[in-house]
Amino acid sequence: MKKIWHKIPEQVKRLSVLLIVIVAVFIVANSLLTPKDFGLVGHYRAGSIQENADRELKYAGQEACADCHDDLWKLKNANYHKNLSCEVCHGPSINHTNDPDQFKPEIPRDRTFCVVCHEYNTSRPTGYPQIVSEAHNPRKICVTCHNPHNPTPPQAPKECSACHAEISSVKSVSSHMDIPCTKCHVTTEKHRLHPREFRPTKPVDREFCGQCHSQSAKADKFIPRINMVTHEPRYVCWQCHYPHLPEAQ
C-alpha cells in the first residue's frame, strides 16, 4: 500500500486534494443556495406555483352577480345577451362583490361603448348584429331605445339593409339594384323580430333565374339572355354568378 502511495507523482496528489475541495465547496453551496422546494414536483421551485396562484382577483365572475341581482340575471339570460358576462359592460367588479356599498361597478351609457361590438365591420362573422353608427339614429344614446339586458329592437327594422348592410351596399351598385330583396327571398313578417327562427327562402333552381334570363322570358330586352339548354346545364346559376353583384368576375 505504502509503495503505491509513493509511486503517485506529487502534483497528482495536490491536484486531487484541490479537486476534492472544489467538489465539497460545490456540494455545500448547492445545498445551501437551492431552495428546499426546488425539485419537489419537477425541475422548478414548487413555491412559485403558490405565488402564481396567490395573485389578486379582479373579475368576480357572473355567478357572483346572480346571487343578488337575480332579476336582471334572469332577464339577461332570457334574451339576446344571454352569453354576455355582466363584467363585459360593467367592468371588473370583485371590489363590488366584497363591499357592495362602497364600490359601484361602472355603467357605460355613451354611444362609443355599444359600437365596440356592434359597429359594422367587414371581418365580423355574418349574422352578427351590426349597425353603421353614423346612419343609425345619430346622437341618440343606445339605451334610450334598447334595454341592454333585453336588447331586442323596440321596433322591427323596416329595411333589409338594417341588418344586411354588406349585401345591400353591394347590390345598390349592381345591375340588380332595382330588384327588391323580396323578389327572390320570400320573407315572412316574423323574420324581422326573430331572424334566426324564421329564415327567408332562397331560389332553388335554374328556372328561377330563367324567368328573366332565358331566351323565352317575357322581360325587358336589355336583360342579358342565355340558352338554358346549352349554358352550363350541370350547374345552378349562383355557383358562377353572385346574384347580389352579377357583373363580378
Binding site: Y44, E51, N52, L57, Y59, N83, G91, P92, C117, R124
Partner: protein, 265 residues
C-alpha cells in the same frame, strides 16, 4: 466429481440454504414497497394551500374563429386582471385580423392588440376574398421551447400542463422570448422579468375561468379540462374541426382552434 459433491453437501445445510433464498427473494419486494409508499406520500402531499392538486388537472383552451367579432374585450380584461402595462407591445392575449385578397396577398394587423378596434379601410385595391379575427394567446405547449431554453429553471410546465414563470428566479435574459414561436412572451418593463399568459392561474385554482373566457361576448373562447369527458373543452373538440398553430414545430399546443384558416401562422 464425487469428491466435489461431497464438499457442497457438507458446507451448505438445507435450513441455511432456504433462509438465504427467502431473504434474496423478499429483499427487492420490500425495497420496492418502501419506495412506492414514499412516492405515494409525495403525490398526496403536494397541493396548494386551498387544496388544489395540480396533478389532478390538465387544462386547455378552445377558440372558435367563426365566432370571434374582434371586439378586443379579452385583451382589455386580461390587462385588467393581470396588471399588464396598459400600453401597446405588452399583451398576454391579443386579437389579430387577417385579410386575404384576390391575388393571394395576406394582411395581418392588430392595432394595440385589438383594444383600439379595427378599421374597415384597406390599403389594397384588390378584391377582398375573406377576412376573420384570430385571438392569440400562449399555447401552453406540451413540448415547450421556452422551458427548454431557460438557463435558470425559472419557467416550467406544471403538472396541470400550465406554463408558469417563477418571477423570483427569472434573470430577465429574454431567451424564452426569442424561443417562443408564437410571440406570446414579453419582458415586463418594471420588474424586468419574463411575463406570459398563465391561463389566469389564480382564477383556475379557484374554479373560475380565465378573465378572457369570462368576458368573451360570443363565447368564442372555451376553457376546460382536456382529460375529463364532462368538460366543455372536450365537447368543443368533439364538435368542431380542430387545428393548431404551427403543427410542424411539434410543440404540441394545448390551445385548439376551430375553423382555422391555412393562412394563420
Amino acid at each position: 466429481m464425487e469428491s466435489n459433491l461431497k464438499v457442497i453437501d457438507k458446507k451448505v445445510e438445507r435450513r441455511t440454504f432456504l433462509k438465504k433464498i427467502a431473504i434474496l427473494a423478499l429483499a427487492p419486494i420490500a425495497f420496492g414497497l418502501l419506495g412506492a409508499t414514499d412516492k405515494l406520500k409525495t403525490v398526496k402531499k403536494w397541493m396548494l394551500k386551498n387544496g388544489y392538486v395540480p396533478s389532478n388537472h390538465k387544462w386547455g383552451m378552445g377558440i372558435d374563429i367563426n365566432k370571434c367579432i374582434g371586439c378586443g374585450r379579452c385583451a382589455v380584461a386580461c390587462k385588467n386582471e393581470n396588471n399588464v402595462p396598459k400600453v401597446p407591445f405588452f399583451f398576454r392575449t391579443w386579437v389579430e385580423r387577417y385579410r386575404i385578397y384576390e391575388n393571394g396577398e395576406v394582411q395581418v394587423e392588430s392595432p394595440n392588440g385589438s383594444i383600439d378596434g379595427f378599421s374597415n379601410l384597406s390599403n389594397s385595391n384588390r378584391k377582398l376574398l375573406r377576412s376573420f379575427f384570430v385571438p392569440k394567446i400562449c399555447n401552453h405547449c406540451d413540448n415547450p421551447p421556452c422551458v427548454q431554453v431557460c438557463p435558470v429553471g425559472a419557467t416550467f410546465i406544471g403538472e396541470d400542463g400550465v406554463i408558469l414563470v417563477d418571477s423570483d428566479y427569472c434573470v430577465g435574459c429574454r431567451y424564452c422570448i426569442q424561443a417562443c414561436p408564437y410571440g406570446a412572451r414579453f419582458l415586463h418593463p418594471e420588474t424586468h422579468t419574463a411575463e406570459k399568459c398563465t391561463f389566469c392561474y389564480h382564477r383556475i385554482v379557484q374554479d373560475k375561468v380565465p378573465a378572457c373566457v369570462e368576458v368573451c361576448p360570443t363565447q368564442a373562447r372555451v376553457f376546460g379540462e382536456l382529460t375529463k369527458k364532462s368538460s366543455p373543452l372536450v365537447r368543443f373538440l368533439r364538435m368542431n374541426k380542430i387545428g393548431i398553430l404551427k403543427p410542424s414545430l411539434n410543440t404540441e399546443p394545448k390551445v385548439y382552434y376551430a375553423n382555422l384558416d391555412v393562412e394563420v401562422k
